[in-house]
Each structure stands twice: as C-alpha cells, then as structure tokens.
Symmetry: C2
Subunit: 514 residues, 2 copies
C-alpha cells in the first residue's frame, strides 16, 4: 500500500494496471498469459456468478459440466469454428512424464496420445457431440444448459482480465425444435446480459447484432452488449449467438418432430467471462483506486473506530460492533443477493485515519463509517461514500441510532447513481459523424499527430455504412475503429454511407475497442 | 426411464452405474476417462459447493484462482510430489493447430512450447510459487486461501465420480507463521469435512491420520475422513494435509518473523471432490434409484396432482399450486442454505401415478405429494418419503392446511434419519479381528472362494498392526485390504500386531476400498 496510482490523465493503461494490482484483484503469473485472480478480484467474480446464475435459472436454465479436453477431430467438424480457433489452441499430446537423472522431469515419449486433445477454447463441439446422445424427439427439447468453466485461448498479447490465455466464464448451449424458439432464446439471453450489466454492474450497454465480419465463428449471427470504458473505447462485454443448424449438422443431431419427421436441431450459445471485471474497473474506478457497485462489492461497509488510546477506543469499538450487528442482521433481500450485508471492522489503530481510509478506498469498499470519541459523545458517526471521494461524499453527525437504515439507503443510492453517472458519461461521448472528415477528426491516429490526445477523447460514433465487409475492413485499417454493433435502440433511418456514398440501411456504431 | 435398475444383491457395481445413469447424474464421454456431469448431478455438486463454501468462509478462508497450467520444472521441485504425480499428467506441448488439406487439423510442429506445461493434478507447486511473492513478513500470515477448480490425473481405470481423469474439486492452500498454527489448521479442516459429511451428506465418517504409506506425496502427514459404502468398502472422502515446510523450502518462501529472523512458512492443503457424489450415492440409494438427503437435494418436493379429466384435475392442480407457493414462501433458513424450498409440480397426467412416482423416486426427490380428487374432497393430500419407499413411508389424509409445515418437518426428519440409518449400518459392520485367522475370514478373496460373497459382506475391521510399511504392504497384497486410518475416536489401547506379533500402539482400521 501507500503506493501511488498513476492518474488516468497521465497514462490510462498504467492506471488500469495500478488499480488491478493495488486493489488486490489479480497478478500476472509466470505461466505465459495466465493470471492469478486474487481474493478481492475473485470475490467480485463470485458475486457476478451468483447474480448471473440466478438470472439464468429464472429463465429456465440448468447447469452441467462437460470435459475440459476436446479431441482434435471434433474441432475440425465445424469449418468456421476450426478456422476461428485453430491458431490459438493449447494442445495436450502426452499423458505421462518420466524422471531423468538429477530429478529433472521430461515428457515421456512413449506416452503419446493417439489423438491429440485440445484444451477447450469454447465448448460447442464437445457439447453438440454429447447432445447427439441426448436428443431423439421433440420431447427432449428445448435443452437449456449452462456451464461455468475455464477456457484457454493462446492469445499473443494479454492484459489482466481483458485478454488472458486462460479465463473463467459461463457458456450457455441450448438446443431447440424450431428456428423461432432458438432465435427468441438468443435475444432473451442478450437481454439477460443487459439486465446484469445495467442492474448489477451499473454499466450501461448498447445491445444489438454484430456485423458479419465481427460475428462468432460458426454463428449465423451474433448479438452483443457493448460498453464504453472511461477512455471512450468500447468493450465487448457479452455475446449471444444464434447458431442455426450449423452444429446440429456438423454433429448429426436430429430429432423426430411432432409430424414424425427427422429434423436438425436449432442452437444458440452465449457467454460472459472474467473480462467483465475489467469492464467494471474501467467504468467506475477513479484515481484513488477501485470503485465497485454495492451489488457486487465483496465488502459493503467498513467501520473504523478511532481513538488515541484504549480508553478512547473502547466505546468507539463497541459502537462499531453494535452497528455491524445491526447491519448484518437486516433481513436478506434481492439487492444483496439474499446474503447478509458484508461488514468489516477495521482495527489498524496505530495508523492515521487518512491511511486507513485510503486502504479501503483503493479496494473499492462502497461505504466507510468513522466513529471517533467526539462522535460518540454526540451518539453519532461519519459516513463516507466511495463513489464521491473527499468532502462531497461525507456526512458528519449521522445519529448512530438509525445509522444502519441510512447506510442501507446509501448503498442503494450509490448503486443507482453509479449507473446514472456512467450513462451520462457515455451519452455525452456518443456523437454522429455525417462525413468522412468528421469521422477522421473523431478517430485521429496518435502516431501521425503532433499533439497527444487527451486520455478520454475517444467517442462512440454513429455513422452510415454501406453494409459491406470491404468498407468495414478499410475503416478498421485506416482508423483502427470497428463497428461495435447495430444497436436495437439506436436510430434506424436509412441514408448514405459516409465512406463510399452507397445506400445505407441505418447508422451503425463505430469505436476503438479493447 | 422405465429401464430396470440392477438390484444391489445381484451386481453392486452395475447397480451403481444404473443409478448414475438413470438418475441423470453423469455420462461417460468419448474423451478417455472424462465424464459429463448431467444437470441432476451438477445440481447436487452446486449444493455441496454452497455448503462447503459457507463452512470455509465461516472459518476465515477466502477464494482465489490460480492457473490451470503448471510449468514442468515447478512440479519437479518437490521430489515426493514429482514422483507421486509424474506418471499421470496430461501435458501441453504445443499452442497451435494448422489445417491440412481436406480440412483436417494437425498439431503445428512449429508451435512447440519451450517448456511443456502440465495440466494441474493439484496446485501446491503453482500456488507456492505465487506465495513467494505474497509472503514477506509474519504480518502477511496466515494466508487462508481456497480454490474451486478442475484437475486432471490420467488414471488408467476410471469410474464415474469415483475416479475420473478430470474431476472438479476444491483445494485449500494455507500458509502459517508457526508449525502449531498449521497443524491446528489441518485438524480444523478435516473436522469441517466431517461436519459437512455428517450434517449435509448424512454420511458418517471416521476421522484420523493416514499411515505413512498412504499419505499424500509431499505431506508430513495426512488426515482423512473415511466413509463406509453399502457394500462394506471404504471411500476416502476428503483429506487434509500438514505439509510442514516442504513446499516453502522447495519454492524458497521465507518470511521475517516477530524476532526479525528469516523463517520458512508452514503449510497445509486440503481437498474434497466430485467423488463425494459417488459416496452420497453408495451411502443412501436403494434398488429403486437415488436417495438424496434434503440438504443436498436439487428438488425437495414434487407435487403430483391427479385426475382422469380436466374437470377432476383443475382443483387438484390449484391445490398443488397453493401448496407449492406456501412451501416456496417459507422463511429462508440455514437448513435449506438460505434458499427457498425447491418445489416441482409434475404434470404428466397422461401417465399412471405409479410411473410418475417412479420417475421421481429414481431421481431421489425426498418428498412426493399426491393430490387426487378424493383427497381434495377431504381437503387432504398424500405424503410419500423417498427414504422409505412403499407403504411404510406413506401418510394418507394429511390436511392440506398445514401441509407445508408438515413437509418441512418431514424433510428435516429425513435428513436426520438418513444419517442414523447410515451410522447404524456402518456400526453393525465394524468389527475387531483378534487373530490372523479372524482377519482372513473377514477378507476372503472371491477368486479363491468356492462360494460367492454376499454383496454387502465386507466390513471395517479394527486390528492391531506393528506400525511398519512392510506389514501394511503384505496385508494389502494378501487381502486387498488397506489401512484406512487411525481414528481419533477409535480404541487407543496398545496390543500385539495380529500379523507379526510385534508390539502395536493401538488398533487401526482395515478395509477394502474404492
């Protein structure tokens, strides 16, 4: 601690790393591209899992678990998927080591697998291979299954949470009797992700389909949620794919329909990952460290009793314990995931209160309570909200009686105002480009500029596009900006492509992206 | 369904497989030794996770996540561990595939890793490599960390849940400033496992240390919980290891103690796995299928409204819905893991009630409610408890008013009586062998016998043993029986080894084991 966090305006990528490290969220490991998720980071992931899992179950899904290893031949069966993932697969080729002299271990060349096994980069192939056994009749459908798992994609450039070789995620894989049902499911799940992003993460998102060029390998189309980070870049935060009959055909999964005919099953898949933690950080956190919305906070409230000596401290500590009990004993409700409020009593009496406050600020605890000898005299305490550091977020002289109620209200208010602040931030940085010149001004290239861009200069840019892959790729090469999605809730009127002048069905959203 | 379950007395291993399959718990996959955990099986695992996780957190532990891959050189650092696991490791040697003509995928020989990576068989090495960075001072200790993860051990003979190449587990890894603290931790955690086994799984266990010959590779000693399966065999259901300073020395993890001296940290590790589901099945289930204790049941109550036509069915269905609501709306409490009761309303009206009942019996739902037209006339219903199939477990004419209370009581009673039944079963099959002849009679070898043994003839056998590895190995070879543990709560008086006549400090427990 007491290490300084690089200010965002000075070096945004370094600020991100500083927050990840100093808030105790994750560490790089010595295993290439793999991270260690530290307790404070994993606790956020657990809260995310609980929230998502509840939403999945409310929409009729159940969990299951499929093998980590995928025989190489399965991956080859669906052509687009094979192409999409072959270049970044970890491959198991042997099943035994042997000791060399000096205790060194070596791969045992005699223990070579007949067929190499791929560590799953995503599980469509192994799951549809299994579904073939489970699906015979329309009565077996729909299959609404989700898996919580680790996956591996051998990425060349990695970044904690945002892009790592191994990451944790959930992947839903559903099978349906009709195209209509499957499409409804794909849409339902992207809306579940939106709900989670907005109501739990307090992170506003755009929702809509990806372009052909940006869809998932093997999908007919991909729906996504896209969030704006504080630097104006986009983060793809979740995807839901309508897979058509592609995987049913690749793995020969047919069923007898109500008319007693054989038909291929219809599929979706959808996933979010530990990447969300990166999104959470870059949506809310500040130059003091991590800011976590209360619904995902590992600790909701820290109480710091003060005092210069034991005599002064005792009544403060006793008041702290009473308040903690009152908070923990509140009835469980949906807002807190039906768990008790998580309250921590800080006892670093030998440190200055400024130091103690900073410790919990950097770790993102939403509410801090201070109880000093003078507060005790007045039967009061001080409340400080993490989302408004400094004087603005401090309430002095809050009566201890009723403080538990007030803290509960404050937590709910923080959740709401974090969302509103993030939404205003994004909306203020969402513009329309009506010409190539306007577009060029919005996506200048640092390398070619004499002036450095401010750290948060980038924007979400609505523009008309002719719908072709060529134009999309040209823009990406020229401006390093990609089409993030065709938002369901964005403007829908036709126009002319600002790059080619050809007709455009509707504006789409361009941005630089993580 | 409607497939017959092989009776236990006819073929116990086949009975086990039949229950696993027909209760929808797991399937073999085509990936050697890996299983697919199906929704009903995974739901039990989720309940186990919740229960264990709560017990871990109550004892001060937090969760984190470490990489799936372990560089080969790490595994080599602790000699016993290297020896213990080298022969069953899945090894990643390449990080890319390439497409051959015809779409076939091949391992890309140019993408060979400089250092092969082992898929974790257990995480001591990667975690202690990380702890080196986290531990500098006694103030950083204790570190009380748990991980939920998948691990891979390339077992040659596999069996669903009991022994699979990939399995799910939790592994606790703690670091302490003193030997005493670490040993206390190892003992605390084996008691947590005992509590979970007995209070959640309703599975009585013996608790005590393993012998030197049976301890974990790298441990100073291993504590374990051992359960008796219905066939009289033992199942090692959980282990807690005191690791001394072995891993601290292998990974050079030292800290400055309060006297300002450098010292190696003290370690424990402890784990339970999806193997517990195998233990659960073989503790309680019967020839009708799965029996699950209510605290781990995915569905607590199934309600079957009856009736020959819609007119008869409507009031039954309405009563079912009212009862389901009353059950779901009960206050959340510890017994149900602070979740609402899970109630399912069955609507297979076109099937006979016998068929419908069997469906839920085979899947292990603890309580079944039937509401027929005649019951409705009397404002009553029928309750059937799964742990006592047939007439014995049926209560007729239970008033619908107050049925929710009664069902809640019944569920708690089932939990208790499953434990008592299992304990009586085990105690009745626990004996003492006072001579080699007695021992020989208790562990006859089928191959050499003219008569087949009854399916449940095996026992837990207390016997005096001279404490040597040689005798232990001789007994194992001669009788296929191993020393399961030296139970803390078993007899402690000294005597003479029944195999060699040498002095024995105390009797130990022998059994055949899974």
């Amino acid at each position: 601690m007491a290490e300084v966090i690089t200010p965002r305006a000075q070096d945004y990528p370094q600020w991100y790393l500083d927050v990840v490290k100093q808030a105790g969220l994750a560490d790089n490991s010595d295993v290439r591209g793999c991270m260690v998720i530290k307790p404070n980071g994993y606790a956020i992931w657990e809260k995310m899992q609980r929230g998502l899992d509840r939403l999945f179950k409310e929409t009729g899904h159940v969990n299951a678990y499929f093998p980590l290893f995928i025989p190489l031949s399965y991956l080859a069966r669906e052509e687009e998927m094979a192409e999409g993932f072959a270049k970044e697969c970890a491959v198991v080729t042997h099943y035994r080591l042997k000791a060399e002299k000096g205790g060194r271990l070596e791969v045992d060349p005699e223990a070579r697998l007949e067929e190499p096994l791929v560590v799953r980069p995503t599980s469509e192939t192994i799951i549809w291979h299994t579904y073939k056994k489970w699906i015979q009749s329309y009565r077996d459908l729909p299959l609404l299954i989700n898996q919580w798992a680790n996956v591996v994609r051998w990425e060349m450039r990695t970044r904690l949470f945002l892009r790592t070789a191994e990451f944790l995620w959930q992947e839903g894989h559903t099978a349906h009797a009709t195209q209509k049902e499957a499409e409804e499911e794909a849409h339902r799940m992207v809306r579940v992700y939106q709900k989670f992003a907005e109501e739990y993460m307090a992170m506003p998102v755009l929702v809509g389909p990806k372009t052909e060029g940006q869809k998932f390998p093997g999908a007919v189309y991909t729906l996504c949620i896209e969030a704006m980070m504080q630097d104006g870049k986009a983060l793809q935060a979740g995807t839901s794919h309508f897979l058509g009959q592609n995987f049913a055909k690749a793995f020969d999964v047919t069923f007898t329909n109500e008319q007693n005919q054989q038909e291929y099953a219809w599929a979706t898949s959808w996933g979010v990952s530990t990447r969300l933690i990166g999104g959470l950080i870059m949506t809310h956190s500040d130059d003091q460290g991590l800011v976590v919305p209360p619904r995902l906070a590992p600790i909701h409230v820290v109480i710091c009793p003060l005092g210069r000596n034991e005599e002064e401290r005792r009544p403060c500590r006793e008041a702290a314990e009473r308040l903690a009990r009152a908070l923990r004993d509140r009835p469980r409700d949906e807002f807190y995931g039906y768990e008790p409020l998580a309250v921590h009593i800080d006892t670093m009496y030998d440190k200055q209160i400024g130091y103690r406050a900073a410790e919990y600020e950097v770790r993102g605890v939403p509410v801090r309570v201070e109880i000093g000898p003078k507060d005790i005299e007045k039967g009061a305490c001080v409340l400080a909200r993490r989302d408004r550091p400094g004087k603005e977020g401090k309430q002095m002289g809050v009566p201890l009686e009723g403080a538990a109620d007030q803290i509960d209200h404050l937590l709910r208010d923080i959740q709401k105002s974090l969302y509103e602040r993030a939404k205003q931030y994004r909306d203020a940085r969402t513009v329309t480009a009506r010409s190539l010149d306007e577009f060029r001004d919005l996506f200048p290239l640092r390398s070619g500029d004499s002036e450095e861009l401010p750290w948060n200069a980038l924007k979400f840019v609505y523009a008309h596009w002719d719908g072709t892959r060529e134009t999309e790729e040209w823009v990406q090469k020229e401006f390093k900006a990609t089409i993030r999605c065709l938002p369901f809730d964005g403007p829908q009127e036709p126009g002319r492509c600002i790059f080619t002048g050809k007709p455009s069905a509707r504006p789409v959203v361009f941005a630089r992206a993580y």
